[in-house]
Symmetry: C2
Subunit: 283 residues, 2 copies
Amino acid sequence: MTKKDLLQGYMIAPNPDGVNLTKTVEGLDHFGNTVVSQVIEEKPLTIYLNSQEIVTAMTIGDYPEYLALGFLRNQGMLDGLNTVSSVDYDEDLSVVVVRTKTETSFEDKLKKKTRTSGCAVGTVFGDMMEGLEGLKLPASSLRISWLYDLSNKINQTPSLYLAAGAIHGTVLCEQNQALVYMEDVGRHNAVDKIAGWMASNDVSGSDKILYTTGRLTSEMVIKTAQMGIPILVSRSGFTAWGVEIAHKVGLTLIGRMRGQRFTCLAGSNRLIWDVGDENGDDE
Amino acid sequence: MTKKDLLQGYMIAPNPDGVNLTKTVEGLDHFGNTVVSQVIEEKPLTIYLNSQEIVTAMTIGDYPEYLALGFLRNQGMLDGLNTVSSVDYDEDLSVVVVRTKTETSFEDKLKKKTRTSGCAVGTVFGDMMEGLEGLKLPASSLRISWLYDLSNKINQTPSLYLAAGAIHGTVLCEQNQALVYMEDVGRHNAVDKIAGWMASNDVSGSDKILYTTGRLTSEMVIKTAQMGIPILVSRSGFTAWGVEIAHKVGLTLIGRMRGQRFTCLAGSNRLIWDVGDENGDDE
């Protein structure tokens, strides 16, 4: 595929030449020769909900507004986009403030919560699980041919990953088309940026597929379910709890996607086997 | 190497057959055939410092006492092992309580802190950076031949990674010998378990090398420096801030270690080039 073909159809593609997303650093290679390496930026970004400081995320720094909005939504701290009145990013302070028309119930809850639970590694987990109660993801289908098209295209799309490594990617897809490809040092940030983009553009998850380079942990499965996306695909592996939650919410979970190979450990009822055996053994 | 050779010299080796560390799950492969997959466990573990709840970590669940102790030390919440009076793990409650002889200054600090800063993604970052002020890691040396021996041995050692994937490993090494190999779903947990083991056994980091499968982010570099280990090696890549902090504290940072290849982006003064050119071009 040409570069033009690879970028065709994307609403947001990765930005491997983006200013301030990578840095060149001098070092030595294994022969002891001087080399100049391209490495990923990693910067703190503090997210506020109205006057309440919520979290400091380590991020590459692109799309801070989407990251903040998506993080708060995936944490269950925002009920819907209708309540958000503004999202302001201050580059000098590395701060994003998400304001809502009326104070959310979460601000009080958080003040109470942090007194007892201190700080959470990864995420404010209890509240994420709370939002899943009774959630059943909608019916949809996934053609195996779409899966192969997507994997092939995403792996070849010019990205920070191909340029500098040490970064995760998450891609929002519909049928065999990759739509929004976000990258970040934390795989949860890449997903949150997609959630923020979806919320800002009023995009439904029900007919989408989420592709990630990262592992299929409980956190990834929960975020995908929160976004209303019924299908999650990764080139990496699974955790037992990720699989368990996927079953609970009716999410299709596909991992270890390499070439034409993959493993589906939940929701295989959505799969449509439209690819012949001859495509199944290329490795 | 035979399995016996591979395990020779380890004080703690991975436990790929460990009960409750993996689970078998039924699913479909890419042909639509039923497969039984081995996947990694992922469970919450809540860490208390005296009566203060500090964090809930997502972990595979082995060595909870080392994880708790190492986490608190790496966060700068414990001054030294001498203050710890007990470490108690309650399996039913998934709780570890680390008790100190007298209340630490941190408990009050944390209560104050969380009221303003809410919850932190990943780590209580501010405090980790605080502990680095004025830190200079000790002089030591790293033979390139050790690096190749370690990488070769670690990659072949039977592990949860080889059995089920979706897991990170961190290995404490001395010269060309791998001593303690910890694995966990979060790479920060694997490092914290090593820190806990070092504290419990009064082991100094000054003559050690830390090998990790994960990326060389700021968090990994800070933890390694907190542990007093002057050399950090990874098969994965770098972030710019990780490289910057390594320069600041005088840490040797080697990444992208594959076969005989690697890149050193900080502290190359410790390297001793004892391997001829003939070993440098095997790929």
